[in-house]
């Protein structure tokens, strides 16, 4: 199988999706720039031109409503935000309208399956309003799917799946993932929304994680395997709907759980998954659950504080040994390899 970067996989998915369905179009600020949203919309623009890949004014609110209106006529809009933080301006449309459309019109007004892509920032001074991770607030609302692909193959498959969905789908793409590479099948395929993926089998502990934390969890698992610790890594992939059975099954096997998310712990995905396991697999737990995520402050900008703000493979490694009740492995993991050179 050939290898593609995460960004190339997204780009390929959009091109294939647009060939499949002439009603797919892409809009958002700068989607038709030569750099094409970190390289993800350039090929689509080159192939389909400005009639289907077009720039928009800075108007996240109405533009989302416009995409919903177009989707009500069977168009398939893909709305792109360079940072998902800008989606706050579109929450009325996303949560009051798109998420509720099928329900509150009793199914009589059709469906509005908009696809909203939002990029999550991390570090490099992006600070408080360019590095948040909005999965929890969005997934709180029934009727709107939220997916967070970590692997290039899933980025492609979930986009193609989203373009066939009856519901609106929010795809949160982590900026730190854009350059990672992985095997990506050729041609058209869909990755089922609502299905987690056990990326690494293990027997001692389950690390259930989202998006970029999957990469960190895989590094920690690989490292700890050298010390005879067997970590199972479950990539949630889909925040809503959530794949309860894969998570429960993993915890029933290992008896231990760490949930690692890219956002704040409180009221977040880490809390949701912990509650799920407490409700449905409590008797299988051999140790308390730990939640790994952001501490209770906005994201700082200075590098000094960023280093203590973001969780990493190292924090996971410490958490894993703690939950297993074994001494901390003092050998630190090599610092994460982050190719991101800014500015955004």
């Amino acid at each position: 199988m050939r290898t593609l970067s995460y960004a190339q996989a997204i780009s390929e998915a959009l091109v294939i999706g647009m060939r499949e369905n002439s009603k797919v179009f892409i809009t958002g600020i700068g989607v038709d720039y030569p750099v094409g949203v970190f390289g993800t919309t350039k090929e689509a623009f080159d192939e389909f031109g400005r009639s289907r890949v077009f720039d928009s004014p800075s108007m996240e609110n109405a533009l989302t409503g416009i995409c919903i209106g177009a989707a009500s006529m069977e168009m398939r809009p893909v709305l792109v935000h360079h940072r998902n933080d800008f989606m706050f301006l579109a929450f009325d449309q996303m949560l009051n309208l798109a998420a509720k459309w099928r329900y509150m019109y009793g199914g009589n007004a059709g469906q509005v399956p908009i696809v909203v892509r939002g990029v999550i920032g991390r570090g490099w001074g992006q600070g408080a309003t360019h590095s948040q991770s909005l999965q929890a607030p969005i997934a709180h609302f029934p009727g709107i799917a939220v997916v967070m692909p970590a692997m290039p193959a899933d980025a492609k498959g979930l986009i193609l799946s989203a373009l066939k969905s009856k519901s609106p789908v929010v795809i949160l793409e982590h900026r730190s993932l854009f350059d990672i590479t992985g095997d990506v099948p050729e041609g058209y395929y869909e990755t089922l929304i609502g299905k987690a993926n056990v990326l690494r089998l293990g027997t001692d502990i389950s690390v259930v994680c989202t998006s970029y934390m999957v990469i960190e969890a895989m590094r920690a698992a690989e490292f700890l395997s050298r010390f005879g610790i067997s970590v199972e890594v479950v990539d949630i992939r889909s925040i809503r709907p959530i794949d309860e059975s894969t998570i429960i099954k993993s915890v029933m096997k290992t008896g231990r759980l760490i949930v690692a998310d890219t956002s704040w712990v409180q009221y977040g995905v880490a809390s949701e998954v912990s509650a799920l396991v407490a409700e449905k697999a409590f008797s299988f737990l051999k140790a308390p659950v730990e939640r790994i995520g952001l501490p209770n402050s906005p994201a700082p900008s200075t590098k000094v504080l960023e280093e203590v703000f973001y969780p990493s493979a190292n924090s996971l490694q410490k958490s894993i040994t703690r939950v297993l009740g074994i001494p901390d492995i003092t050998t630190a993991l090599a610092p994460e390899i982050d190719n991101f050179k800014g500015p955004y």
């Binding site: 168009m75 329900y103 009793g106």
Partner: protein, 338 residues
Amino acid sequence: MQKIGFSVDSLVGSGVKKNWKAIYESLLEIRFTEEMIAENYKDQQMRTAIHLGTGQEGIATSVCANLQVGDSVFSHHRSHNHFLASGGSVFRLIAELYGSQEGCSKGRGGSVHLSHNQDIFFVSTAILGESVSLAVGRALAYKMEKRNNIAVAFFGDAAWEEGVIYESLNFAAIHSLPVLFVCENNMYSTESTFSSRKAPNSEFTDRARSFGVEAIKGDGNNVRDVFNLVAESLVKMRENPFPILIELDTYRWREHVGPNFDHDVGRTFRSKSELEQWQKKDPVKILRDILIGENYFSDFEIKEIERKVLEDVSEQFLRAKHSLKPEVTSLFENAGEV
């Protein structure tokens, strides 16, 4: 009864299906329905916040009478008028208000979330200005699909206080989209007057023009005038898509939300005498006077039309009152992500 006709027949061609009888019937249907809701609301069986459109019917009727199959209408919280005028049935509306499975949104929407998809696609939304952007999106799809349809966005004067309006006007102008923005200016936002909402020298039409959107101001109480104004606008818009704003003066007779008159429930901003001034400009009465005064219909014919519409509305209302409620097991119908 074939002596009637549109004064703008030559302009609108074969797309117009309704005649003056149908327009008067539509106007009456709204009036009778709204008043019947007000009458029955006290029974506590319609458990949904109603924003009655009595007094504002003329705009919905005259705009929607100009629409063609495939056009779409987007409305706001005061949505009954537009629902009915664009082809939704009294039965489906009232059944919705009674929380029935047979309601237009199967009892899931309530008064502010109405929908139908007959010849015209219709939805109403509750948050101010939201649906204006939906209309622009529908118009974008019309343009991309090369259809000569029109999307109508009805909104009140308070929607001008929401940012989404400006984003929508700007986008519609940039892409030259076939959106008819219809502002129903009834001067009040709940009970707030313009003094707390708008500088005296700021005109809505000027705001639209500043984005490059053509804007017209008119009286929303004369159905014939509004019909003609809209007809002329739509002919141009269908030929070569572009947006137009029409701002129309109107007055809601009853309270913002609920079945009463403001003066009856001790509210002070809108006095009884103000209401009475506007009731002299009752759109139903104005059209009735035109239709009789200009010999479209005899007095007897008008009364026959009125009797039949009242009979029809009453029959549908009663049937809706006793329509089926949803099964409790259907709570999750259309709720999930798929």
